[in-house]
């Protein structure tokens, strides 16, 4: 029953919040509207969503999100520093990372995270979704990098999505 | 509350919309019925408006109940009614023809057809220059779409030229609107007329540029030399009912010149009075010459008719250039005649082409037409009207134009051009006609008689020609009234700006 009203509970929540954010108001009228849209839009677009694994551990997800946030700041500062140095000190590289994650959505999240964080950029996913190809702006050591990514990002995601 | 003025725009629009929606959308039969009902309604409403206008009153319909210079108004004077009525009749003819099978050439024929009618009616009724632009675009876009109806290389190519030239024309229109708004600060045509008179000297030249740019824009629509090149190809490649409906398109341009350049930049515009006349004179004469040249060079009936259209445009433009009530009377009469006859001739050309097999409507020896008698009579009526020979309507229009140019400085030019064009058209038409009907190959003809609705449509439109002569007195009376009213508006534009909203004030 609840599933039918909220085909996408996460989405509904996000939509509810976003509506309030957009209008910058928590007036009763807007709360009502937010609710309406939070209900209505998922029903409207419900058909246009591929089935994705659900977030099993919401709290972990929040922690993960915050960690990524911090990493972004660090990443940017790092890149900025690298930028200011002459190019010859950089050691760019391509790296292939084996994936344990399954499912399109988790992989996408991982790829996005990698792109946002220090000196790495996801470039491609192999056709069988087993490998993630990453370009690093400055790679000191390949194995460290791979291990770091797997530990820091993939492991929590595995937990969050429970796969 | 009298909502008649909006109906000629609304009826075709709603009809078109209905045709996009089920249940009408699914069946061509239903679309035909809806289209017929809508057009009959349109004609009915317009006749009603015409009867009202006989009293001499101008109806002003303030859309959204906003006062005249601020909101958009529809100005329903005799001229506008005449034009819309003409559109309605022409469209009926074209529609009738298309029901015989031409509507199957592609999707959305009727919706586009009705939308084009809507655009044309809107352009005639509106009293707001930006709204005029909007309706221009409505009718143009619909015409682009209709042009490619039934497909084929020729159509694609013609519409490419037509489209691109008109897109540039639309850009120029907007430039002109920018200039006019930027100097006059208003969009209502009557209000513009008032503002033009008080324009400070510093801005007169700018407004002049605006006015002249509009001439280019309208000239392009009306196929004025040297902006007429799109016409032949476009008209001769369009499918018959579309080409017939297009007969009114050039008139939209001419109408707009009358509407804008008589009311806003007419005799009373102070320094800017009659600013287009020096340009219009040579353009009109050259248009006639170009059309004549083209008529002689034509190798098919459609080309011939297209070029005769150019000649008629030139004739009307010279009436515009003369710029008197008498000339406008003449021009309007000519306009009615040429619109309906051109429409009929395009239909006829198609019917002839259909009967001549591979030769189509080209002037070459071909098999005998099965229905050569009715088509031949129709051809004779149409071509005589078009070339301006008695006993059909063309000569009345021609003579009226000639008479009205007496005393004008360029009289000799106009007379020379019109008369020589007439002669050359006769030569071209007699050559073409005798080839089409009389140069017959031994090839046996298919026993395919022309479809009844087609024939009926052709004669329906053609009947206008003798009727215009028989009731020439009444028609020319009306056109002269319309012309008088138009010039009256040029004198007193404030007639169109009622001080209080006609229908109660907004809250």
């Amino acid at each position: 029953m609840l599933r039918r009203i909220f085909p996408m509970p996460t989405h509904s929540l996000v939509l509810f919040i976003v509506w309030l954010l957009l209008n910058q108001s928590i007036a009763p009228g807007h709360l009502l509207l937010a609710l309406i849209f939070a209900l209505l839009i998922p029903i409207l677009v419900g058909g246009m969503q591929a089935e994705q694994p659900h977030i099993r551990r919401p709290i972990k997800a929040v922690i993960y999100f915050l960690r990524v946030l911090v990493d972004i700041i660090v990443a940017n500062i790092e890149v900025t520093v690298q930028l200011m140095r002459p190019v010859k000190y950089l050691q760019p590289a391509f790296v292939a990372i084996p994936l344990e994650l399954t499912g399109d959505f988790p992989i996408t999240v991982l790829a996005s995270t990698i792109s946002l964080t220090p000196g790495t950029l996801s470039a491609e996913v192999s056709e069988d979704k087993q490998w993630l190809y990453v370009h690093a702006l400055h790679m000191k050591d390949e194995t460290t990098l791979v291990r770091e990514i797997k530990k820091r990002y993939e492991a929590p995601l595995l937990e969050i999505f429970g796969c | 509350m009298d909502h008649l003025p909006i109906l000629p725009i609304l009826i075709p629009m709603l009809a078109a919309v209905l045709m996009l929606l089920p249940p009408v959308a699914n069946s061509l039969e239903r679309q035909r019925v809806v289209a017929f009902i809508a057009l009959l309604g349109l004609v009915g409403v317009t006749i009603e408006l015409l009867i009202i206008s006989l009293s001499g009153s101008i109806q002003i319909y303030q859309l959204g109940n906003w006062q005249a210079p601020y909101g958009i108004v529809l100005v329903v004077d005799r001229l506008a009614i005449l034009m819309v009525l003409l559109t309605g009749v022409l469209a009926l003819g074209a529609l009738l023809y298309s029901t015989a099978g031409d509507d199957r050439g592609g999707v959305f024929f009727y919706p586009l057809f009705m939308l084009q009618v809507m655009g044309i009616s809107g352009a005639f009724f509106t009293g707001d220059i930006f709204n005029l632009f909007v309706f221009f675009e409505v009718l143009l876009l619909a015409s682009y779409a209709l042009l490619i109806h039934a497909g084929g290389k020729q159509k694609t190519q013609a519409s490419l030229h037509y489209l691109i030239l008109n897109l540039i024309g639309s850009s120029l229109f907007l430039f002109a609107l920018g200039i006019l708004y930027g100097t006059l600060g208003t969009l209502n045509i009557a209000d513009m007329a008032l503002k033009v008179r008080e324009l400070p000297e510093a801005e007169q030249q700018l407004a002049r540029i605006g006015g002249l740019l509009l001439l280019i824009v309208f000239g392009l629509k009306s196929a004025m030399f040297p902006l007429h090149f799109w016409l032949t190809k476009t008209y001769s490649s369009a499918s018959a009912p579309v080409a017939a409906l297009f007969a009114i398109m050039t008139k939209v341009g001419i109408y707009s010149i009358w509407r804008i350049h008589t009311v806003v930049f007419g005799h009373h515009a102070g320094e800017l009075a009659n600013l287009i006349q020096p340009w219009l004179w040579p353009a009109a004469i050259l248009t006639i010459s170009a059309g004549t040249l083209g008529a002689l060079a034509s190798q098919s009936l459609r080309q011939l008719v297209s070029n005769l259209v150019i000649v008629s445009v030139g004739t009307m433009l010279s009436a515009v250039a003369i710029n008197t009530v008498q000339a406008t009377t003449a021009g309007l009469y000519y306009l009615i005649h040429s619109t309906l006859v051109t429409g009929a001739l395009f239909l006829l050309a198609d019917a002839i082409a259909e009967q001549r097999g591979k030769a189509s409507d080209r002037f070459v020896r071909a098999r005998r037409m099965t229905s050569s008698l009715p088509l031949g009579i129709a051809f004779a009526i149409g071509i005589l009207s078009m070339t301006g020979l008695p006993p059909f309507s063309g000569f009345v229009g021609k003579v009226l134009v000639l008479q009205s140019s007496v005393g004008a400085a360029q009289m000799a030019w106009v007379w020379g051009a019109v008369l020589i064009a007439s002669l050359m058209s006769v030569i071209a038409a007699s050559r073409g006609g005798s080839t089409l009907f009389w140069r017959i190959s031994s090839e046996t003809n298919e026993k395919k008689i022309i479809a009844k609705p087609k024939l009926f449509a052709i004669y329906f439109l053609l009947s206008a020609s003798p009727l215009l002569v028989i009731f020439g007195g009444q028609v020319s009376d009306f056109t002269s009234q319309a012309a008088l009213q138009l010039y009256q508006l040029g004198v007193q534009p404030e007639l169109l700006l009622p001080t209080t909203p006609s229908l109660g004030s907004p809250e």
Partner: protein
């Protein structure tokens, strides 16, 4: 009313044969003849008045704006012509019954014939000169139809066209002349015009009028040098020739001269032009007639000659000459019509018209021969026949004039010479055809024609005899009435006696007679002499000239209208420049008085970037994708500029539109070549740069001049009424949905049309599907990149929410249905891009066409809704409501209208893009297969 009946009867007669054509041929002819005979009887009932010089007239108002009334005016001259028209007309109808073969469509012939008769009646009986011209042109047209009656014959078609061209040209000249007459006189009423002779002769337009009117008359009457169409018109069936080319149509020109004689004659100019033309024609026609081997050709040239004679008489410009002219009109009509009919009989019964074949027919058809010989004798001017009388008068008049001073003797001498040839060709007609040995190779054995075929000839020949023998009894009164009507005054004394004693004219007749026989006797020498001058076939010459003219036109036309869009655009721009440059040069001060905004570095930088990207677009226009990228930058900067100059709505719209446009252009680019070939010559480039820079310069200058001038606009009203009257604080949006909602209605209609038009274009389109990019690389095999697909799906609800937000706030803050619609559209397109058409198709079941329709319907019905409140279309309504807990909120009809806009926009965008996608996918070859190869 009786008078109108004269006009109406033949008109009714047009219909009769069409209705009667299924009856027997005789009945058909009989029924057709009813109209002219009735009219003739009707006319004769009025004869007493008309012969007494009374003018009968009647008129109805018709088209006052052009001075054309429906008016009939009868006087003696008209009476004469009407008798000819109806009388000979009726005879020809009878004759044609036997002449036409059963294969010919009798109904069609009689229909054309009556058409011509009506026109002819109209010409002579008109009381209004415009109306006269109206019928004048009708004669040309109906004669065209009659000449080309045997339309499958090339010579008939060509002859008809030639006749139409020449007489049509004359008709147009006549029109100009008549209009000028009306201008000078101030009326087109014939009576008034006839009474304004002095005014006309004194006006400055007189020379033009004279020349133009005479051009009309001369072309119609086949005067030299416009005579050439008449011999070619002999391709017509002989009844037509008998009627048109002897009695009526060619006489229309003569009628015109007779009619306008009182107003146009009496000047040196008239005399010179008319008499010299007449003289030339007279001599030329007579001379040429002799050499024609074709019977009808001979008659045609003799007709030309006689018409010249009559013209010459008018040109002599004495009152008596006019009488003579009119008399000869009667005589010529009778003998020439009978001659044509006789020729027709001969042709009909023997199968040939060639005088080299036709010999000695006397033996086979003595009765017909007798008739023909009498008529021919009359033509030659043999005494006791009518031709003699008028020829005598003619000779007399040539002697009586003195306008050429001491050279005046030339005219009678030349007239006699003409007479010599007349006699010669008449003799030839008689001798060659009926005597002169035996027929040569005739297709048929000749014999007498059916009884009633001869009847018309008998009647006409009888007339010849009667007039010739007892002129005083038969024609005196008629001639008198006609002459006085033409002269508009008393007729001078003349005598119609056969015998005037031995005088100079009689001597001239004798000389002519003797000379004629002499010439005929020595004809072989003369034929031999004439052979040196091969006579050009006027048909061929004319046709060649027309062909040449048409070829020249085609060439010229193709040269100007060469099918190159670039040229057309160039001309359009040139015209634009032409009209704008003049006022610009008159603009004294470019910059106006309005204080200008200060420059700031950021804006200047943005402007520089804009300029650079625009120029880069041009420079790299041949690398299409790059140009597209540059264009995007331009669009981006333009929208930032809108934001900068206080137009957030515009910025939003511009952005959204630009993205959709770029997507569209990319879609198109896939199917178009990736690069533009280099095909503009440097000269062309310079030209293009030049003209576009000029136009750009003009626009820029105007823009600067405009922006720097102060302006007072109507906008204050909008600001003042936006909240109170429109219920919204975003004035731009209120203008869009309320103040100028009608524009918006039009605008979404345009969008709707565009969508269905594009759909129409797409249906049935066959595309080129490149299998690799411009460098020949194969496309990537990853059709729908996974990451993109996932993210797009996540973003969709968000985007929809944003569009709802933009939609709802539009009335009060930047936003509105249009932008919201585009956002929704783009969000959906994004799904198509990321997930593919098939994926979407399986999940979305919206009919976009219906969506457009309902959008437009909603918008329109919002407008119609105001009718129920007795307000005009699109009058808006809004109110504030207060609900417990929820609070105060506004509802407005404008929102409904905006919803219509929204739906239309979404529907239109999707209809275009989604369908385009659908179309392409189904035809796309599989790259994997390609790559393997």
């Amino acid at each position: 009313m009786d008078l109108f009946l004269l006009l109406v009867l033949p008109l009714v007669g047009i219909v009769v044969p069409l209705l009667a054509k299924s009856c027997s041929r005789t009945l058909c002819a009989f029924l057709t003849a009813i109209a002219p005979v009735t009219a003739l009887i009707l006319l004769l009932t009025m004869s007493q008045d008309l012969l007494d010089g009374v003018v009968l007239s009647s008129s109805l108002s018709w088209i006052p704006a052009m001075g054309m009334d429906l008016s009939v005016r009868l006087d003696g001259l008209v009476f004469l012509f009407l008798i000819l028209i109806f009388g000979i007309g009726a005879l020809v109808i009878l004759y044609a019954r036997y002449y036409l073969s059963p294969d010919d469509s009798m109904g069609r012939f009689y229909c054309y014939f009556m058409m011509f008769m009506s026109a002819m009646v109209g010409v002579v009986a008109s009381g209004n000169i415009i109306q006269m011209w109206f019928f004048w042109e009708l004669t040309s047209i109906s004669s065209f139809l009659l000449i080309s009656f045997w339309s499958s014959r090339t010579d008939a078609r060509k002859g008809a066209r030639m006749a139409l061209t020449v007489t049509g040209a004359g008709g147009l000249a006549l029109l100009a002349g008549l209009l000028l007459v009306g201008q000078v006189v101030g009326s087109f009423d014939l009576e008034t015009v006839l009474n304004s002779g002095d005014a006309l002769r004194e006006s400055g337009e007189y020379p033009f009028i004279l020349v133009l009117v005479l051009l009309g008359a001369f072309t119609k009457s086949a005067q030299f040098p416009f005579h050439f169409w008449l011999p070619q018109a002999m391709a017509a069936p002989t009844p037509v020739s008998a009627y048109l080319h002897s009695a009526t149509m060619v006489k229309a020109g003569i009628f015109l001269m007779a009619r306008f004689y009182p107003v146009l004659s009496g000047t040196e100019m008239w005399f010179l032009i008319v008499s010299l033309t007449g003289l030339c024609t007279f001599l030329f026609g007579a001379y040429m007639a002799l050499f024609k081997h074709d019977l009808k050709g001979l008659l045609a040239y003799s007709t030309i000659s006689h018409l010249g004679l009559i013209t010459l008489l008018f040109g002599l410009d004495t009152r008596l000459a006019t009488v003579a002219a009119i008399f000869h009109v009667i005589n010529h009509a009778t003998f020439k019509a009978s001659l044509f009919m006789a020729a027709g009989i001969i042709d009909h019964e023997s199968g040939s018209r060639d005088m080299r074949q036709l010999n000695g027919l006397w033996k086979y058809m003595p009765y017909t021969a007798t008739l023909a010989i009498i008529a021919a004798a009359s033509m030659a001017g043999v005494p006791l026949l009518n031709g003699f009388l008028s020829k005598e008068m003619f000779f007399n008049e040539t002697l009586d004039q003195g306008s050429l001073g001491s050279l005046s003797w030339v005219i009678p001498v030349l007239a006699t010479l003409g007479g010599v040839f007349s006699v010669a060709y008449s003799t030839r007609f008689i001798h060659d055809v009926f005597f002169n040995g035996e027929p040569v190779n005739l297709p048929k054995t000749p014999h007498e024609p059916p009884r009633y075929m001869k009847l018309p000839v008998e009647i006409l020949v009888g007339c010849c005899l009667l007039v010739g023998i007892v002129p005083g009894l038969v024609v005196a009164q008629l001639l008198n009435a006609a002459s006085s009507a033409s002269l508009l005054g008393p007729v001078p004394y003349y005598s119609l006696a056969i015998w005037h004693g031995f005088n100079l004219p009689l001597m001239m007749s004798f000389v002519a007679m003797a000379g004629g026989f002499f010439v005929y006797y020595n004809r072989r020498t003369l034929f031999h002499f004439q052979m040196q001058f091969p006579e050009p076939d006027s048909k061929v010459v004319f046709e060649r000239w027309v062909q040449r003219a048409i070829k020249a036109c085609r060439f010229g036309h193709a040269y100007i209208e060469n099918g190159s869009l670039q040229r057309y655009i160039f001309l359009l721009l040139l015209a634009t420049l032409a009209v704008t440059v003049t006022p610009l040069t008159a603009l004294q001060q470019t910059s106006g008085l309005k204080p200008q905004l200060p420059m700031d570095a950021a804006s200047v930088t943005a402007a520089i970037l804009l300029v650079l990207s625009a120029v880069a677009t041009v420079i790299w226009n041949r690398k299409r994708l790059v140009a597209l990228l540059m264009l995007s930058v331009v669009g981006l900067i333009v929208s930032i500029a809108f934001a900068r100059y206080s137009a957030p709505d515009l910025a939003l719209t511009q952005l959204a539109v630009e993205v959709v446009t770029v997507i569209l252009l990319m879609l198109a680019l896939f199917f178009l070549p990736q690069q533009t070939p280099k095909e503009s010559s440097p000269r062309r480039l310079v030209r293009d740069i030049g003209i576009s820079a000029l136009v750009g310069g003009v626009i820029g200058t105007v823009n600067y001049a405009m922006m720097t001038r102060p302006l007072e606009t109507i906008s204050d009203f909008f600001v003042a009424n936006s909240k109170t009257g429109g219920g919204g604080t975003n004035v731009v949006n209120v203008i869009l949905v309320d103040f100028r909602g009608f524009d918006t209605l039009g605008e979404i209609t345009v969008l709707g049309i565009a969508a269905i038009a594009i759909y129409k274009l797409i249906v049935g389109m066959r595309l080129y599907m490149p299998s690799g990019d411009e460098y020949g690389r194969h496309w990537s095999t990853d059709t729908y990149p996974m990451v993109l697909a996932v993210i797009s799906q996540i973003l969709l609800p968000l985007a929809l929410l944003v569009s709802v937000y933009i939609f709802l706030r539009g009335h009060n803050e930047p936003g509105g249905g249009f932008i919201a619609g585009l956002i929704t559209g783009v969000a959906l397109i994004q799904q198509y891009i990321a997930n593919g058409v098939g994926w979407m198709k399986a999940r979305v079941h919206i009919n976009y066409q219906w969506m457009i329709g309902s959008g437009l319907l909603i918008a329109a019905f919002t407008g119609v809704g105001s009718w129920f409140f007795d307000k005009p279309f699109l009058t808006s309504w809004f109110d504030y409501f207060k609900w417990p807990w929820v609070g105060k909120f506004e509802l407005a009809s404008a929102m409904l209208f905006d919803l219509g806009v929204y739906l239309t926009v979404v529907g239109a965008t999707m209809l275009i893009l989604a369908n385009l996608g659908t179309l392409t996918t189904s035809e796309r070859p599989d790259e994997r297969v390609l790559e393997d190869q």
